[in-house]
Amino acid sequence: MNRWYPDALKEFQIVTVFDLLLQYIQEGRIQLDKSIHSVPVAYHDPCNYGRKSLKTFGKAYFEEGRDVTKACCEDVRELNPNRNGAYCCGAGGGAWALPYSEERVFYGRTKARQITESGAKLVVAPCHNCRDQIMKSLNKEYDLGIEVKYLWELVADSLILPKK
């Protein structure tokens, strides 16, 4: 976006969901209950918010997503290699609109293996492509037996409602 809009960027700020969720949690504007998700949880680094963001915007979102996940769950595990070295889930680059679904599943084998090795029962995937790839393709094709949630879905499901 900053490629086309140097002017627009001056006028309004662009904020990501990561910044926002983390800010609200830190400020105590939302309260979270960790007992809701007691299973082992793994955080998946989407290429878009990590490596690609680093290259395009000079800032990678590696820690924010983890911090939010840790604020919601006790047992958070890593899929190694992670962060900048993380493997793509296989659904990037427009793959969902491409006719190569077998290739997409093959590509995802590395991610599937990492998930199995981590022992996680819930995978948090902040990106739409990753979430669909892990939940709808890899989970089935590689018998992972896991649940997959968006980051904000995890937060919303952990919310403690204020007593009125």
Binding site: Y5, Q13, Y24, P99, Y100, E103, H128
Partner: protein, 243 residues
């Protein structure tokens, strides 16, 4: 070495690599390859179509442009950029792949992704599913009403569209309103409990951008402009990107 191979084969058409080098800062380091293979061994797309990133780059370097560019592999690399970071020379192979995609005549590029880009240009939603602004408004209102009713603790929750002067302009991947509308709700709940003033836009609400992946730069720009304009017209202060 590559020079002599080109001469022997009598094919002097090493222009693709040169062309890409001109576009990239520092030429994308494209001629610094040590042929170490680190990129290929860490690339999940290695082996598909009998191709891998190292081979792709070598083929381009040796003047086998046509064969490399037109391999369907360029659509299987997800442009995840992992190879750039493992490469000792930080060679930008995904940019090479992106430009190879752009070399395909538009009508020969894979249909699904071309359609998704075309859909986004069809109306002002930018949605790759072709969802019109009215349909989006309908779904949002419908889902909101349902939750307000079934979950009394959220009866005051809002999901405004085109509300002027809010603090946040929110975008939304169109997969949710179309196939899984309930998945829009978690974020509404969080924003509601945090007491945030936000809005969707009837124009440019869709967050995805397949034109980018189709390597169609003009359409990519148009799609992005629609979103920015709408956020601007509504006088929102912050563009909240969910994609």
């Amino acid at each position: 070495m590559s020079e002599s191979i080109i001469k022997i084969k009598g094919k002097k058409k090493g222009s693709f690599l040169d062309k890409v080098k001109e576009i990239l800062p520092d030429g994308g380091n494209l001629n610094l390859c040590l042929t170490c293979g680190a990129c290929a061994s860490g690339c999940p797309a290695t082996g598909l179509e009998d191709m891998d990133p190292r081979k792709f780059l070598r083929m381009c370097a040796m003047g086998l442009d046509e064969e490399a560019i037109h391999s369907p592999w360029v659509w299987m690399c997800t442009m995840c950029q992992r190879c750039i970071y493992v490469c000792p020379m930080k060679i930008d192979i995904p940019q090479l792949v992106f430009n190879a995609r752009a070399e395909w005549p538009r009508e020969d590029r894979p249909k699904g992704i071309r359609d998704s880009c075309d859909m986004a240009l069809r109306n002002d939603s930018n949605s790759a599913m072709g969802t019109a602004p009215d349909d989006f408004i309908f779904v949002v209102e419908d889902v909101l009403a349902e939750y307000q009713e079934s979950q009394p603790e959220f009866k005051d929750m809002q999901a405004p569209i085109d509300k002027p002067g809010t603090f946040f302009f929110l975008n939304q991947n169109s997969r949710e309103p179309v196939t899984e509308p309930d998945e829009m709700v978690p974020l509404w709940k969080i924003l509601h409990l945090a007491g945030v003033d936000w809005t969707y836009g009837s124009k440019g609400w869709a967050a995805e951008n397949y034109c980018m992946f189709l390597a169609d730069n003009d359409c990519w720009e148009r799609v992005t402009r629609v979103s920015a304009n709408q956020a601007d017209e509504l006088g929102t202060k912050v563009f909240l990107n969910t994609e």
